[in-house]
């Protein structure tokens, strides 16, 4: 029961804080191309919960070929204050990503939404970095 309450309380905290900005240490346009939107589903292979931004690596199927995307998220401190933890996502977890590819042609992606198979969003918040859907 206690665990259930904790889980509910954690989820509520996450929802309540969803509008709090996620820190970006540079502008979106410095690295990413808003003309290169991308959407894919796959499995987490590695999580780097480190400054200045978290990176989650995701294996996804791209026309029969497995591609490992490096998916960038917010700053870990801001995510922590919103209730997210470094084991919110773990290797092997399925995840769907919507975001934008880097300008340099690499498989680096700036994620705008992270969705679990049950539809629950993680790492919610606004990437206030001047990128698409960012608040002014």
């Amino acid at each position: 029961m206690r665990r259930y309450l904790l889980a509910v309380s954690g989820l509520c905290t996450g929802l309540l804080l969803a509008a709090i900005p996620l820190a970006a240490h540079h502008s979106f346009a410095a690295e990413y191309d808003n003309n290169k939107p991308i959407k894919f589903s796959g499995k987490v292979t590695k999580v780097e919960w480190m400054n200045p931004h978290i990176y989650v690596y995701v294996d996804a199927n791209d026309n029969g070929k497995t591609v490992n995307y490096a998916v960038e998220g917010g700053a870990p401190n801001g995510l922590y204050r919103q209730g997210w933890r470094k084991d919110t996502l773990k290797a092997g977890d399925p995840i769907s990503i919507e975001g934008f590819l880097a300008k340099d042609g690499s498989n680096t992606v700036n994620a705008r939404t992270w969705v679990l198979p049950d539809g629950k969003k993680v790492f919610a918040g606004n990437n206030e970095d001047g990128g698409p859907a960012a608040k002014p």
Binding site: L22, A23, H25, H26, A30, E31, M50, N51, S106, E128
Partner: protein, 234 residues
């Protein structure tokens, strides 16, 4: 035994005001201590309502700005303006002779000297990333004067630049227990034809909030992907 207890009590009574004084600086001034969240302001021109009054050189620099040159993308110190306009919190520690802003962003600080000292006479020849700041109270308003800021930081995320002749005047007012009003004036004759100001609001964090380490160099994978044109300073 009674004497020891009495001595302890007297000592404690004498110590408490010292503690309070050390925290607030003076009972006559507002207590600004605490964990505060910035109001994110990626583009100062939006807060101003229009572009700043550029000099021809300032306009030329603005037209050529390239976000790939963002100094913080390379983990450099953020400068005093961006420290208060980035989406990051800070801890304000208020003492009688010095006030400290401990910024989470790039784990950097500013010390505001309140003891009446002047800026160092050679600060303009040897400017620093965060400049040199002195402060004074005008009524309930903390007024901070900062000079000697090197030209290697940006004023905001969008890329408004400044020269080492930038003179910042900041005014901090406690609106209520949970809000601070920050009014900043940018005076830089190299980039702007006249001083201009914006006002932002800081919001107190939750009681459990704390400043956490932000080691930008820990895993700065962005730097290898930053691309764009060139706009190197002459």
């Amino acid at each position: 035994m009674k004497g020891s207890i009495l001595l302890f009590c007297v000592g404690a009574i004498a110590f408490v005001p010292t503690l309070v004084f050390a925290q607030t600086g003076s009972s006559n001034h507002p207590d600004l201590n605490g964990f505060w969240n910035n109001q994110y302001t990626p583009n100062l021109a939006q807060a101003l309502g229009h572009e700043p009054p550029y000099t021809p050189y300032g306009l030329q620099r603005w037209k050529g700005v390239d976000t790939k040159d963002d100094p913080t993308g390379r983990c450099l110190p953020v400068g005093p303006s961006r420290a208060f306009t980035a989406p990051m919190p800070f801890q304000l520690v208020q003492g009688p002779n010095v006030m400290a802003f401990l910024y989470e962003y790039q784990t950097i600080y500013r010390l505001i000297y309140m003891d009446g000292r002047q800026h160092p006479p050679d600060i303009m020849e040897y400017p620093e990333f965060m400049g040199h700041s002195t402060g004074r109270w005008e009524g309930d308003t903390l007024v901070i004067d900062t000079v000697g800021i090197n030209d290697r930081s940006w004023l905001d995320t969008t890329g408004h630049e400044h020269s080492a002749k930038l003179h910042l005047i900041e005014r901090l007012q406690k609106v209520d227990e949970n809000h601070l009003k920050w009014t900043v004036t940018y005076d830089d004759p190299v980039f702007f034809t006249e001083p201009w100001s914006i006002t932002r609001n800081f919001t107190r964090g939750k009681p459990t909030d704390r400043i956490m380490a932000y080691s930008c160099e820990e895993n700065n994978r962005d730097v290898e992907h930053l691309t764009g044109g060139t706009n190197k300073k002459p």
